[in-house]
């Protein structure tokens, strides 16, 4: 059951100030997240999706800075809150499983001890017994036993590590979970496990999930709505099924066409070229150097704005304006 809008990002801009120049990682992103839905954010590596996630949780570290924009959670602008006040939101209302977090587990500490440390760092005060109880409940719903907490990271497979991290993020029963590439680097079976968990989260607990991944097959299966990002901007938004059946933006189309699948005899195509330099992005539409529908004179001068194509769908492409 999809409900009201609980998170709205307005014109968010995040940059990294490097020696080479200002890397505009997130350049004017506006999005909405509804209660009980899985919103997928897709795009190649380097398009800014991870930065977007970090920005929502105010985890952008120097040389990165949030330049402007609003992140409204139930009407409250999270970016304007004081550090202490915001802490009440992070992990309790909005939880985060960063990309590659399973690799940053301390190899010489048991999982349980690390979790306690992490919770302490976030300033979460919770009694040990209560913690145990909640962990047990969450872990078993994922098909894991609490004995897993007494192990060391290297004793667990990638899939298990990922699931325990997701379990940790759910301790305080957050309303929103942001998962950055939760299935990457896992083998198919572990992937399936994680995907099932995320779907159960949505179905059984009503958690809203922002699913960030470049894997379009995973997106196809899990997300209700999708936002496609390219070079720091959103190029298309809409219900997943509609997007897959009829992709509007050329980039979206290429992404979908590159997905291989069993039984498909057609040779797959890749997207030509490499992602653009975010310090000096191409003029006009950022995708135009790689776009099969490039219109010279138009696409390299005008920058397409995100406009509504139909109910619930928007696209940023000069083919539609």
């Amino acid at each position: 059951m999809i409900g009201e809008e609980i998170l709205r990002i307005k014109d968010l801009r995040v940059s990294y100030l490097t020696r080479r120049g200002e890397v505009k990682a997130v350049d004017g992103v506006s999005l909405g997240l509804y209660k009980g839905e899985i919103l997928g954010i897709a795009g190649e590596s380097g398009c800014g999706k991870s930065t977007l996630a970090a920005a929502i949780l105010r985890l952008v570290k120097p040389p990165g800075i949030i330049k402007e924009g609003k992140v409204l959670y139930r009407g409250k602008d999270l970016l304007r809150l004081g550090e202490e006040e915001f802490r009440l939101y992070r992990m309790t209302k909005i939880a985060y499983v960063p990309q590659g977090s399973m690799n940053s587990l301390n190899p010489v500490m048991r999982i349980r001890d690390q979790f306690m440390d992490m919770l302490k760092d976030h300033g979460l005060k919770i009694k040990k017994e209560e913690l145990e109880e909640r962990l047990r409940e969450i872990l078993s719903s994922m098909g894991l036993k609490t004995s897993i907490l007494d192990r060391y990271p290297h004793e667990l497979s990638g899939g298990m590590k990922q699931r325990t991290l997701i379990a940790l993020s759910l301790i305080m029963n957050p309303e929103i979970l942001i998962a950055d590439e939760p299935t990457t680097a896992l083998d198919v079976v572990s992937q399936r496990g994680v995907m099932n968990i995320l779907r159960d989260l949505k179905d059984q607990r009503g958690t809203s999930i922002i699913l960030i991944t470049h894997d379009m097959a995973v997106q196809a299966e899990l997300s209700d709505r999708m936002a496609i990002m390219y070079a720091g901007k959103i190029v298309e938004v809409g219900p997943t099924e509609e997007i897959y059946n009829e992709p509007l933006h050329p980039y979206t189309r290429l992404l979908i066409e590159s997905i291989p699948s069993l039984g498909d005899e057609k040779p797959r195509k890749s997207i030509e070229g490499i992602p653009p330099d975010l310090v000096n992005p191409p003029k006009g539409c950022r995708f135009h150097p790689r776009c099969p529908f490039y219109i010279p004179g138009k696409c390299d001068t005008q920058e397409p704005m995100l406009i509504q194509a139909s109910s619930g769908r928007s696209v940023a492409c000069l083919l539609y304006s």
Partner: protein, 316 residues
């Protein structure tokens, strides 16, 4: 028919723990007809260990790996160099596969010189350029750069260029695309396909992602915890899997078209960390179709038409 290499009944134990990494693995690749063999399985299935044994980066504890009829341990001198030329590799992680201190030109030069493929600098330059062009890279733009200045996809291409510059007969590709963005995997797979079709190179394609395997493989071998559980012509095995584990793998794949199918694969998660049973079929604890018989003795590879399955469901 000269085999490029062959493995007989190989077992490999990991030191200090007596884990059987690979058990009873046989494969023969001949050089008369280029073929893409996919070796598929989860992490821990032993597929990387097989690759390392073929490349002589590790040695089998039991059994033999032969190159053109000669045991790898006995290769010396000229035939050793020939082996190193004809059997090459592409690795999974484009971020750690290159020494960050070497330029791409150096990376491509070293094997050519060390393996005596060409002697004069002119020849070497020519070969390097041609190889880069073959993988779709512009030599002028790439040669003087350091690995960190290239994208993941470009680095993988360089790795492939390096391999083909030596004119190999067999390329062992260990998860070559799993660390790349899904959208650029296709181009790398196409290059590999091209190698088979136009250059007569056989490929041992190791992966856990069966979606990518479909378009490219001729034959497929499914491994589970060190043993082969199914093998046969790729399209048949993938579209009509016989072994329960193969079925599990196929069902676990994310479906590329949004469908609302609910998959009953809950059992998988729970049993993931089960210790491997000492007797009988290794897949027993996770198998939805198991029988008592399966616990007693490990099922051998049973022939079913032009395929083989290690499962009692298909015979004795």
């Amino acid at each position: 028919m000269e085999s490029v290499y062959k493995i007989y009944r190989v077992r490999k134990f990991l030191r200090a723990e007596n884990i059987v990494a690979v058990e009873d693995f046989n494969i023969a690749i001949n050089d008369d007809q280029p073929i893409v063999v996919t070796l598929a399985g989860e992490s821990g299935s032993g597929k990387t260990t097989v690759a390392k044994m073929i490349l002589r980066l590790e040695e089998p504890t039991k059994g033999v790996v032969r190159y053109r009829g000669v045991d790898l341990k006995r290769l010396r001198g000229e035939i050793w160099r020939r082996y190193r030329r004809e059997v090459q590799a592409v690795f999974q992680d484009p971020y750690s596969a290159f020494n960050p201190l070497h330029r791409i030109e150096t990376v491509l030069r070293i094997p050519l010189k060390r393996l005596g493929v060409a002697t004069s600098n002119q020849e070497i330059d020519l070969i390097i350029r041609k190889s880069l062009e073959d993988v779709g890279l512009d030599p002028g733009k790439v040669l003087s750069k350091y690995p960190r200045q290239l994208s993941g996809g470009e680095r993988q291409r360089v790795m492939i260029a390096r391999a083909i510059s030596l004119q190999p007969k067999l390329i062992v590709a260990d998860e070559p695309v799993s660390m790349l963005d899904a959208s650029i995997r296709a181009s790398i797979i196409n290059i590999l396909k091209d190698l088979r079709d136009r250059k007569g190179v056989s490929i041992l394609y190791i992966t856990h992602d069966l979606n990518t395997a479909y378009g490219i493989s001729d034959e497929i071998i499914i491994m589970y915890r060190g043993s082969i559980v199914e093998r046969g012509p790729a399209k048949k095995v993938l579209l009509e899997p016989l072994h329960p584990y193969t079925r599990l793998l196929i069902e676990s794949l994310p479906k590329p078209r949004p469908t609302r199918k609910i998959l009953k694969s809950r059992e998988i998660s729970i049993y993931e960390d089960t210790a491997t049973p000492q007797h009988g079929c290794k897949f027993y604890p996770r198998c939805p179709l198991r029988m008592d018989k399966c616990l007693n003795m490990k099922p051998p590879l049973i022939s079913v038409g032009d395929r083989e399955v290690a499962c009692y469901l298909y015979g004795e």
